[in-house]
Symmetry: C2
Subunit: 332 residues, 2 copies
């Protein structure tokens, strides 16, 4: 049986797994956190030890790799990582092919996860789909005509920086109202924190008592959840607070689901894929979140452009399963 090695360099985490080609069951599977002061060398070192412990001397027939950052998939060269230093122009495919003496294929995580969901997850049986991950960032990957579509510079799928509200808040990319600026976990947490700080700063002298009451309920649950330490607020905390009825958290989440809905509707009009597959931590925000997103997407798309929008099926393993598909394709 053909042994395949799948690797996932995820920025804050590293994962590797082995599987027999054609099987849907891992033979071996390991996950490690990337240390806070990680660089490309330490990541590669950790990955080597994980691989050795998985392979135990066996030799894979091919290696598939998901990398959390821009990659030139034709050469397998990493362009850079936005999270870990030292990845600039690392020829990751060549390194692996030399070290293990077998063919390897490297692509960025959104493309690879799209392929994983298409081959093994929610996208099975479809011919065209757009996969989106909504967590610390917002990224996407394409399957068109049953194959990954990477774009001329390998940059396709960047829905995170589609502008949906040109009068919205400023994103790290310099534009206003990008999907990622409105819908990623860290940005939602940041916006919530800012509102809470301003309310506190203004209280109690500047705000009339009637409004104080309202402002109090807005954010009250959020404050309780983090014991008043605003730094502890995350995207997930915002979700929890919204589920518990916090109005501020609900507003911020509503805006996020609205932004995702507009983005998806725009993409539907533009490419008209059969399916949208949505994964990532933010998508666990609950039924209301999904409902708003689906409604706004439907309103944004033309009536002739129906959009099926489903939850990703493979969770954090989507990139690993996509890496398996990459390796299987290398074997032909």
């Amino acid at each position: 049986m053909t042994l395949i090695l799948a690797l996932d360099f995820g920025g804050t985490k590293l994962a590797a797994a082995t599987v027999h080609a054609g099987s849907k069951q891992w033979l071996g599977y390991e996950r490690r956190l990337s240390p806070a002061n990680a660089n490309a060398d330490t990541d590669l070192e950790i990955m080597r030890s994980v691989i050795n412990s998985l392979l135990k001397g066996a030799k894979p027939e091919a290696i598939g790799v998901s990398f959390g950052g821009p990659v030139d998939a034709t050469t397998g060269k990493v362009r850079l990582s936005h999270h870990v230093l030292g990845w600039e122009n690392v020829p990751l495919r060549d390194l692996l092919e030399e070290e293990f003496g077998v063919p390897a294929y490297v692509d960025n995580d959104a493309n690879v996860a799209a392929l994983g969901e298409y081959r093994f997850g929610a996208g099975q049986g479809y011919d065209s789909l757009f996969y989106m991950t909504v967590s610390t960032g917002v990224g996407g990957g394409w399957i068109l005509n049953g194959k990954p579509w990477r774009g001329a510079e390998g940059m396709a799928g960047e829905i995170g920086h589609m502008v949906v509200d040109p009068s919205g808040p400023v994103c790290l990319c310099g534009k206003r109202g990008c999907v990622e600026r409105l819908a990623s976990g860290p940005y939602m947490a940041q916006d919530v924190r800012e509102v809470l700080r301003n309310v506190r700063a203004a209280c109690p002298e500047d705000i009339p008592p009637s409004r104080q009451g309202r402002q109090g309920r807005r954010g009250e649950v959020l404050r309780e959840l983090v014991g008043d330490n605003l730094e502890l607020i995350t995207g997930q905390i915002v979700s929890e607070a919204a589920a518990a009825g916090d109005d501020l958290a609900k507003e911020i989440l509503y805006r996020a689901s609205w932004a995702l809905g507009v983005g998806i509707g725009n993409v539907a009009n533009l490419i008209n894929p059969q399916l949208f597959v949505l994964g990532g931590g933010v998508m666990k925000a609950g039924e209301d979140f999904w409902q708003v997103l689906r409604k706004v997407a439907r309103e944004t798309a033309l009536p002739e452009v129906p959009s099926e929008i489903v939850s990703a099926a493979l969770g954090d393993d989507a990139p690993l399963w996509g890496a398996v598909a990459l390796a299987e394709d290398v074997l032909g």
Copy 2:
């Protein structure tokens, strides 16, 4: 030599041409206006007489057809026309195949024009491109991996109804701030007219003299160009007035080029095609218009996503040349 018949059902105009496969020179070429009270039957009747006058008894080997409205390209059935009555569910491909006894292929005009520019025009030598036409509407068509990409329901390319300003004016489709709402000729004319009417209605009592002067210059050229008959204002008149320095016309045109730039930048991030090809009457608005559009597109796209944006090369003949390409592909 293989004779090909190319047809263009354009909504307000009908065109047909003949060419030898592989040639870039028309053998015969005719254009007719569709009468104001046209329906599908009269359009077909006019087209028959044009075809007969072109073919003079010769028999083509294949027929390619561009249709100005949604088409199911797999069956060659027209869904409807937004301009001409009676086209609902007309099996145009079957009609033509029966009448002429040769294979035919029918697709919507934006897809066909994209194919025309790809095979015979500004997109020659590229592998992926997005073609946009900006005139009475805003539409688009895709070439990906050297082939038309039509989408699951044949609706891909609808950049006209991408929302770029959710607080913008309401579009016929019900949404606010669609690209078409901001950049199509008739909508630009409508917005200019509305401003001019409001200025007149408010003058002279309500506006202080200092502002009256300014408002006067805004729109003065526009009024002159149409002899004060605002109904005569068109997208082209707006362009002419802007070129002559009219501030109101310049503002409306700026907004249009901004909307197109945001749309193109968003598309670049999402699909990363090699090339954008822009045609249609509005694109003749001049160098300033192109400059703003290119600048906004560059700012909207991520720095890693360069976008080459060029003018269409085939003008009004893009759909006919695309129809030739469709017919050539049918012949294999």
